[in-house]
Symmetry: C2
Subunit: 253 residues, 2 copies
């Protein structure tokens, strides 16, 4: 347990006179550039004896966790590490993956060990951490360390305002139907379309139909070594990585 | 000039063979807890000879800049500091404030000195930094250091998911009309209503009308010493600080 987190002094799952349970930390490690980690994320990783993170499933080739890679320099040697092997399938991830991960984490928390779960970007903004949060946050003291999200990182990489003053912002996953996207993009507000991936051709057609191509900027892998920022009008690719975004600037009516 | 910022090598305003101009940095210092500054923000402040920040105007009592207060431990002694005194009036800030601030900053940039402008939260997410960005980013090499925004900080303080998987998120300033807010809140999506302030009674009435009070959490001054998190149903205040938010959870239809 750490001091200084207001409201955490007597967390859920702690009983006076019994051994204190460990604390669950959801740690945002930011969008990719390790320098965009927060001082708090670095401190929590210096202290937590157990570190968990999502990683590609073995059936998808296994390999390195992106979140762990971002944080690697701040994970001391000898930590207990839990790689949560998440299958990359279309549709929802199997609940059993998170049931099993939660079980491993619970064992450490019940033994009094803090567990830091690494999350790309921010833990509560479209992250898979919510599946662990759903299972654990009611049972154990929990601290969320917010991180720089892909949303503001993409605006920074594009070097343009995301939203200003009285504008509204619509954050739209690319998986929405054409009808849903069109309804939202027709409104006089700024928009960010997330997780572009294989939806790129459809999104380009939709934005062209709405006369919004000139207002749109494409950003892939913001703040990473392979970052790409390009006006949508100049993008001739037919597919995009999962971690890419289209920012649409519109003035409020 | 720093190495390692991809795409910054030959910025606007630099002419080969002439003295290089300084670089403009928009530095997000996060939502309030100084530990939520990024490592990059800390490094930029260690290096930049000039630091600028918004501060209350003298007619509003003058006094300390919130952004500077967050970053204070990382501003070395002896730096040139520019306090941008912003009048707290309803409506738009006078353009002359930013014209004058831009003029001061330009003098340093043209003399080859980097200038770091401190921004609460993230520089491009509803920040007054956009007024300087509008005036300077086309003329000088510019780097935005994204920060933890109030949006994800409030979700972290509330300890609840902001958006998950295929949900959309509507980010709505409280200054919107009842009609505009109602139309947006009626949609099946998550919502965050920013800058609650004096709009609190109206927002409570509107959310009650839409049956959304139980789905709403009020968060003021997230991650600051005077942070307050309370279910909207339990909030009996009639006014709220400017830096407060209502998070509305809704499942997608």
């Amino acid at each position: 347990m750490e001091a200084g987190d207001a409201g955490d002094a007597m967390g859920v799952g702690e009983v006076q006179g019994q051994r204190m349970s460990g604390r669950l930390y959801g740690v945002g490690v930011g969008p990719g550039d390790p320098e965009l980690m927060t001082l708090k994320a670095v401190r929590v990783l210096a202290q937590a004896p157990v570190v968990a993170y999502p990683a590609p499933a073995f059936e998808n080739g296994g390999g390195e966790s992106s979140a762990r890679k971002i944080a690697a320099a701040h994970i001391p040697a000898g930590r207990i590490e839990i790689a949560i092997r998440v299958p990359m399938r279309p549709g929802r991830e199997p609940a059993s993956v998170y049931d099993n991960a939660a079980k491993s984490i619970v064992a450490h928390l019940e033994a009094g060990r803090d567990v830091a779960v690494l999350c790309e970007g921010d833990p509560l903004f479209y992250g898979s951490f919510v599946y662990l949060h759903d299972r654990l946050a009611d049972r154990f003291p929990t601290t969320i360390v917010p991180g720089v999200s892909s949303l503001t990182a993409c605006a920074a990489s594009a070097n343009r305002a995301l939203v200003r003053r009285d504008q509204t912002l619509a954050v739209l996953p690319a998986t929405l139907s054409d009808e849903a996207l069109e309804a939202r993009l027709a409104a006089p507000e700024a928009a960010a379309i997330l997780k572009v991936g294989r939806h790129l051709p459809r999104l380009k057609a939709l934005l062209a139909k709405l006369g919004l191509v000139e207002a749109s900027t494409y950003v892939a892998h913001a703040t990473r070594a392979d970052e790409r920022v390009v006006a949508l009008a100049d993008l001739d690719a037919e597919t995009a990585p999962y971690f890419s975004m289209i920012l649409v600037a519109k003035e409020r009516a």
